[in-house]
Symmetry: C2
């Protein structure tokens, strides 16, 4: 195997978060289920935006957040995703690049704008996401750079990218290229509703041995396994992948890897402001730890530290110096 140029190359929906506060009554009036991500079309995007309060725009997207987190932790990170040649697309590229992430997928004018998600944050810090995919849903397989994929130790994929057909094809092609180069594949289940939409596809990937490192939260692992009991769901999935990582919010996280098991508590947070990106940054911390040859437990701790930072402020990208934070807490 040749040397790697990148530690983690993430592929996902390039999405800018449009974040506004709201109360529970607003969610109810809009018919929204707290904590879920739903896909919306252009008309619904306009309608909902008209109703929403004043907002802040911060680059997001699940895999993009993870790439930013890996870079902020000192890892060599890349991102593949589709933006349009517009202001949102420019912000997106700037924010990733400024964090130190390699992002070479060219913007393309397909007649649709860069994707955005209207993130509604309730006073309990939970986020409800309304995603207009825009250009992100048009990432063509041709946009992939095989040499970039072959040079990355880990190819990281978000389940959300399974929703639109064109990027799904790009993902499948990326997996083949990575596998051909002997690289590892990491995959996040993203969202329980996303699993409902694509359970067969996800299981085919996992059962087909295409996933080395699988990320899920408590609800998602249950949805994938079709079991309500946490331990039973973990037991049902853990042998299908080399490494399984499951986050449990305030109960911390567990990992099972080649028969080894580790767990960590959640990091304390002074005030939880916005839980968007918690899972993305947990994945970033864990992957950064593994590519730095840290132990399974220390890698989990890096995940917990990165997740704790991101939920302490609005937006799903790190604001603090994560590398210094980990050095202080973990050495």
């Amino acid at each position: 195997m040749t040397a790697t140029r990148l530690d983690v190359l993430a592929i996902g929906n390039a999405i800018v978060d449009i974040i506004a506060d709201c109360d529970d009554a607003f969610l109810e009036a809009e018919g929204l289920t707290k904590g879920m991500m739903r896909l919306i079309n252009a008309d619904e995007a306009v309608r909902l935006y008209d109703h929403m309060g004043p907002a802040r725009e911060i680059s997001g997207g699940s895999a993009g957040n993870t790439a930013a987190g890996v870079a902020a932790l000192g890892g060599r990170a890349g991102f593949i995703g589709q933006v349009a040649p517009d202001q949102l697309g420019e912000f997106y590229r700037h924010d990733l690049t400024a964090t130190g992430v390699e992002f070479i997928t060219p913007a393309q004018d397909f007649g649709v704008a860069t994707g955005r998600v209207m993130v509604l944050v309730t006073p309990d810090a939970h986020r409800t996401m309304n995603t207009f995919l825009g250009a992100a849903q048009l990432l063509p397989p041709e946009a992939l750079d095989p040499a970039q994929i072959e040079g990355a130790a880990i190819l990281y994929l978000e389940g959300y990218l399974w929703d639109p057909e064109i990027p799904r094809n790009a993902m499948v092609k990326a997996i083949e290229i990575a596998r051909g180069a002997g690289r590892q594949i990491a995959f996040t289940l993203s969202d329980s509703f996303c699993i409902d939409r694509h359970r067969d596809g996800f299981n085919a990937l996992i059962d087909g041995g295409k996933v080395d490192i699988l990320f899920a939260n408590e609800v998602e692992i249950g949805a994938l396994a079709g079991m309500a009991d946490f331990d039973a769901a973990v037991a049902a999935v853990q042998d299908k992948v080399e490494t399984l990582v499951v986050t449990r919010s305030e109960q911390g996280a567990i990992a099972v890897s080649r028969g080894e098991r580790a767990q960590v508590a959640a990091e304390p947070v002074a005030r939880i402001v916005d839980t968007t990106g918690a899972g993305d940054l947990f994945a970033a911390g864990f992957l950064a730890g593994r590519t730095q040859n840290r132990s399974l437990e220390d890698s989990l701790r890096m995940g917990a530290i990165a997740a704790a930072e991101v939920i302490s402020h609005y937006g799903a990208r790190p604001e603090a110096d994560l590398k210094a934070l980990v050095a202080r807490k973990l050495g």
Copy 2:
């Protein structure tokens, strides 16, 4: 005089803030003076943005912030300013409208994008602003709606709008319309460097009796009067306007109105994050207080409360429920 439709109608540069953290070394390397606002062209905007860290975008603009603050305090507020028909312009309109501000100036395609200011926030919470005016500098006098101006109790103007020639003409026309309808004119000096650029113009406005309520901070009142001593500068200016309001950062603020003098301490803030918008929100609180017929001292306190809220987070628009905050603190 006919009844009013609006309490405060603000006219200013329609600008989206692009806010990033940086350290003092970055300011030095870029040749920037901490705390100042400078105007930059498109090339410099691109160059600086390339160097800046990941950012968040939040609608701003001095007078726009004041209008948003008045609305958040329960006042009837309007805004006049020029945006382009682009994504930033849509965000700008949305954020003002969602706060309850009337914003009817149509977007216009002059071939330039909506204005933006790159706000660099150092760890001491001070902000250094790099403004690309874009469409804002092209607000034509024809965009004014005379009936809107005639229906507003107070026309509020930002000194920054004196920089570009076309909106300066619009301001002068707006002042004439407001004066013709017997309305009050409020004016903020904006920035000491802005005063250096336009001292003669500002003094002509003030000496010509065109300003009823003048807002300044400690540095600005000194720059306008050409006196380093605070009390001397206030004494030199106070009789030229009906009401003079001067903010003094952590030393609170004073007001002099028709011979009456009041002062307040600064409101305590748990943690100052970003001082952008402090003066804008102070003006909002004071104007909301006056249009609610509050005393000079209570109006200053409303200013202090609104300013304290806005410096406790990133961005120059209120995030907390200002109306409830004032009701709790002031009754």
